[in-house]
Symmetry: C2
């Protein structure tokens, strides 16, 4: 097992009716800025619940944070929060709104220079941030219980991340009923996103950490087993609660304690989103099978373990089991309605070249062995045409 | 799934060499009181590592906190800390030293009345405590990552608990190498303690929380599978690391999110410790099979699931599987060298009467259905003679 440090102070308030708890979770004398996205929260009743909970607070709002939140939009929110003298941010939305709000929180207290540096330096100089809370409306990214944010810059088609303890939410409200009005596509995305998050932390090498392996498998197995109940209409409360809790735990730092991680699928997927606007989860479903195929020899033992424990594939040798894990994973994506090919999004060899070119400029080495460079990325993506 | 709230801010610093990190984790201008137990840390090198890390700090020490820490001892530590003007407590030991130090931390800031009230009221008025950190030397109770403490009063043979966020450790140092010098009995106790902690949060009713079920099973399965490697001499680093991380996670509040809990085995076991000095883990191994047998009909479904998932017992009906879970659990205790009968400790029917009498005085109802009163406790204990 590798040495590690773990500290996650986020207060999770989970369950039906929990949005009302905001009233007590934010000091009455703090001025709040509620941030949100395209306005779906005004149609599904969440905005009204938040407004009701904030009756005794002074608050303003900033809407219009887009999917893959733009730096440019976030900087407008920074201006507004500064002008309004805001003390606390309350992100009401999915991963994009929460990530954007983390950036806003950090930028408001950033004294080191141009806030764009926060992303260029992965947050190196972010030691302080305006306190933020969240009301999660779209289970998928796990942002509600971690200290990471991914921000895109429209101007340069870049998508960059930063991670700093200062942007851990002070609290996150998880009411599974907010998922009842989500289109099926978003649930599908959340299932795939969470599954791939687990795999980035699991399908690597043997870290001699059997507990962490089993904890990762617990999430993966639950996602696979419960997927159809989670997608079902009319929605089932317990299934949606399980969905929400799985997505949070897939990326709250818990299952990666003491183990070797990969994240190459995310790094490659981010570029597909940056260049072609493919949803984050869609990009992951395309790239993961390619990374696994390319890295098969090095990931074989872990993939075989996955097949045995998640899909009861105990027949055959390790090679057979590992191939079964790859097939079953792609079949799982298809079963929830997720495409897995670049051609499903009209991305061709020219598109691949644009992605490869960007990695070449950055002199990138990805993966748990740091052995995936531009040439390997080209092979991986070509296998996914 | 039940509604829940989860917040655990403890910083875990895990791995070989991590004791040296104390130097940075405590402010240099804070005066430290190091608390410990019977002095084993002076023989196994841990005391020297702590002293080395505190070279730049001003610190005093308080040794002699006994197993099942006594209120009387803790109050002496309170006096010393007050006289010395201590700012921070550093517990170096197992669950007893850490629990005792939590009580000391709370008592030092308790302004509501006599500190014994902290235990009589389960901590109701504890809103503040002196900051504390821990160096875990005996993996078992999980106290290093929770807000609970159990204290005994010699004078009245009482053993009582309190739980308050104010006594969460600020940090806990987990270096698996500290277990290398532990006698086999302590490792055995830790394995059983952690396993029973998981069962108190798992072997109850169906809470429609499949993720939490699998997370509990992940810990239980790892303990069962790795037990012999954990007990092996010479010690194996990764096995000991897994042991340490399992015991922490068995009782850090994670696996009980949103599920119904039991804890009757602990409540009954505490009295065996209070009256007869049986080790905490020993008492659990005696009582658990009795509680399961008595509550069999109500726990059957969950026990059957345990048998299927932990021991691959898929033959037979639910009843058969559930009985297999009970047999395999007791066999697991025996396999690690743990007795499971009252007679192993010389406790007879008269002893049982003393325990039953105490529960009768308190008008106790235990268990997830609150259906275990003095008469049921008598039956449970009699079945364990």
């Amino acid at each position: 097992m590798e040495n590690f440090e773990y500290c996650n102070p986020v207060r999770i308030v989970f369950g039906a009716g929990s949005i009302a708890r905001i009233a007590d979770l934010i000091d009455r004398d703090h001025k709040v800025m509620v941030t949100y996205g395209g306005g779906s929260i005004k149609r599904n009743g969440v905005y009204d619940q938040v407004a009701e909970a904030l009756t005794s607070h002074t608050w303003v709002e900033f809407g219009g944070i887009e999917p893959n939140p733009h730096y440019e939009t976030c900087m407008k929110a920074v201006e507004k929060a500064r002008a309004e003298g805001v003390d606390v941010l309350l992100a009401v939305g999915g991963g994009s709104v929460i990530d954007g709000t983390k950036f806003i929180a950090a930028a408001l207290r950033y004294t080191h220079g141009d806030p764009w540096e926060i992303l260029q330096t992965r947050g190196a100089h972010v030691n302080d941030a305006v306190p933020l809370g969240t009301v999660l409306t779209l289970p998928a990214t796990g942002s509600e219980m971690n200290m990471a944010a991914v921000i895109s810059r429209e101007q340069t088609q870049e998508k960059l991340a930063f991670l700093r303890p200062a942007v851990f939410p002070r609290f996150s409200i998880l009411d599974p009923r907010v998922t009842y009005t989500l289109p099926r596509k978003y649930i599908r995305n959340g299932l795939v996103d969470a599954f791939v998050h687990v795999m980035e932390q699991y399908a690597t090498v043997d870290s001699k950490a059997p507990l962490q392996d089993r904890q990762a498998e617990a999430i993966a197995k639950t996602l696979v087993t419960e997927a159809q109940a989670i997608l079902a209409e009319p929605p089932d409360y317990d299934a949606r609660a399980t969905f929400m809790w799985c997505t949070t735990q897939a990326l709250n730092g818990w299952i990666n304690c003491g183990v070797v991680q990969d994240w190459s699928t995310h790094m490659i997927g981010h570029e597909l989103t940056a260049f072609f606007g493919v949803d984050h989860a869609e990009s992951l479903a395309v790239v993961l099978p390619g990374v696994w195929t390319h890295q098969f020899a090095k990931k074989r033992a872990k993939l075989a373990q996955l097949a045995r424990r998640i899909w009861h594939q105990t027949q055959g040798d390790e090679d057979t089991q590992a191939r079964a894990a790859m097939e079953r994973t792609e079949a799982f994506f298809h079963a929830v309605g997720m495409p897995t090919r670049l051609s499903d999004y009209g991305i061709d060899r020219d598109g691949i070249q644009r992605v490869v070119q960007r990695f070449a400029e950055r002199d990138t080495r990805l993966g748990e062995h740091q052995d995936i460079g531009p040439a390997e990325i080209e092979k991986i993506l070509t296998s996914r045409l």
